[in-house]
């Protein structure tokens, strides 16, 4: 049966409106739950830089929240390492800083959250500083968190995540085995210059003697390059903060 154009157009409009309402309705209803799930996931990623993934996945959502509250203190700094508590009249908290949005701004204007991992309930007994990372992979954004030990040089751990890297290749940055390669590496060379940690091309070589190199991912060199660029850029942005922590420790050591 051949329908008139008017019928086809009316049908399409009605269908579009109904489907549109259905989708926006679902989005409205599920929105709060999704934001909660995302906030929890962010906490898991932050914690993932300092404790193992198995431990985190064994925790219930409430336990993750409780552990986070009792072990993580947070602050926000600017490019000069100065603490920021307020911007444009609104209070700034580390959890609410959107790294992806900040990434679009010039590096000098960005807010840089620092998550401080400390002994349970004691914010002064700092164990490591967790810094967020953000950059570009092969297809889409990649991000993560790197934990620096209190010497501000040794990598305590890293979590990496991605929006759309190739499964089985670039997407492997989320695997514990790949992230484990960064543990114990150093970001400064002997002269004190920032060299970060570089993922190499190719896979299966042993870089345990080189503190600035980690084994690569076969078939995912561009994602690896993205991770390298991201690490170098963000450790650079945080360098003022890192230096200030280093010098305050030097002072403490001198006493």
């Amino acid at each position: 049966m051949q329908q008139s154009n008017a019928y086809i157009i009316t049908f399409s409009v009605i269908l579009t409106v109904i489907l549109g309402l259905l989708l926006s309705g679902t989005s409205q209803v599920l929105g709060p739950l999704q934001r909660e799930a995302e906030a929890l996931d962010k906490k898991k990623q932050i914690l993932g830089a300092v404790i193992s993934g198995d431990e985190i996945s064994a925790m219930s959502p409430e336990e993750v929240n409780a552990f986070y509250t009792s072990h993580i203190a947070a602050t926000v700094v600017d490019i000069n390492g100065q603490q920021v508590t307020e911007r444009d009249g609104a209070a700034v908290t580390a959890e609410n800083v959107d790294i992806a949005k900040n990434y679009k701004m010039p590096a000098e204007d960005r807010l840089y959250p620092v998550f401080i991992y400390h002994a349970e309930g004691n914010p002064d007994a700092v164990e490591s500083y967790i810094l967020p990372l953000y950059g570009a992979g092969l297809w889409d954004a990649i991000w993560g968190y790197i934990a620096l030990d209190t010497d501000m040089n040794t990598v305590g751990g890293i979590t990496l995540a991605h929006a759309g890297e190739t499964p089985g290749l670039g997407a492997r940055i989320t695997e514990a085995g790949v992230q484990q390669r960064y543990v114990g590496k150093e970001i400064f060379d002997e002269s004190g210059a920032l060299v970060a940690v570089e993922m190499q091309k190719g896979e299966g070589k042993d870089y345990s003697s080189d503190p600035h190199k980690v084994d690569g991912m076969s078939g995912a060199t561009i994602t690896g390059n993205g991770v390298n660029a991201m690490l170098k850029a963000y450790l650079g942005h945080y360098s003022a903060f890192i230096e200030s922590k280093k010098s305050s420790q030097a002072v403490a050591a001198a006493f």
Binding site: Q3, F11, L22, E38, G164
Partner: protein, 227 residues
């Protein structure tokens, strides 16, 4: 008087049983004889991609069942009003809406699964089985039959990807649903005994091999030959 006879005539026409022989065939046919993956070789892409572990595979299977059944139902209800010239777009709109719903629900209630399945939930839209069933069946059949047909096809897809995932996870990671089976078995035979896992099974190549074996076994049994 005359109206009465008409009514009687309608009453006399026996209703088809809820699960008549024909309807049972709608469900059972796609399981083996007309399986979407092993016979029609549709939906291979996701069958390779999500089957490294049982858990995401199960979520994927449930999502696909939901999408196929619901889209078959909706399209079948609308089949007499859908303008033929834009029917593909209408089907696509309905399927895309359903897939987005699944994706949103996963994002709210199973965020880890949502992350793990990532693009593959969205790619159900392009799963040939879904559109195939809409074009071939739902457009020309009543809602209930269409639901059964969709359910059958989805089950045919599901059991294959679950079987592939079972062997890939067992041989590739030594576990089933995350339970370390290989460790338990090794434990029985003492500390020196260790079952090795095969890295090949974790890569997509492993899925091809398992799928090939399943198709081989199945075609040997049914005697199916490609024409």
């Amino acid at each position: 008087m005359s109206t009465e006879t008409v009514e009687k005539a309608i009453e006399k026409k026996p209703a088809e049983a809820l699960f008549s022989k024909r309807r049972k065939k709608l469900i059972t046919d796609p399981l083996v004889d007309d399986n979407p993956i092993t016979i029609q070789v549709l939906g291979i892409c996701s069958a390779l991609a999500v089957t490294t572990q049982m858990k995401p595979t199960l979520v994927m299977a449930i999502s696909v069942i939901f999408v196929i059944v619901m889209s078959n139902l909706v399209i079948s209800i609308m089949r007499n009003t859908i303008p033929t010239r834009v029917r593909i777009i209408v089907q696509l709109a309905v399927v895309a809406t359903l897939v987005t719903l699944v994706s949103e629900v996963l994002r709210a209630f199973a965020y880890d699964m949502y992350k793990e399945l990532s693009v593959f939930v969205g790619l159900i839209i392009t799963n040939c089985i879904v559109m195939g069933r809409l074009e071939a069946f739902a457009l020309g059949n009543k809602p209930y039959d269409s639901v059964l047909d969709g359910f059958g096809s989805a089950l045919g897809y599901s059991w294959i990807i679950l079987t592939v995932a079972f062997f890939r996870e067992l041989w590739g990671s030594g576990s089933v649903f995350g339970i370390p089976v290989f460790e338990y078995i090794s434990g029985i035979f003492g500390p020196d005994f260790k079952l090795a896992t095969n890295g090949l099974m974790v890569s997509p190549v492993g899925a091809f091999i398992i799928l090939g074996l399943i198709i081989w076994v199945q075609r040997t049994k049914t005697g199916y030959v490609e024409h």
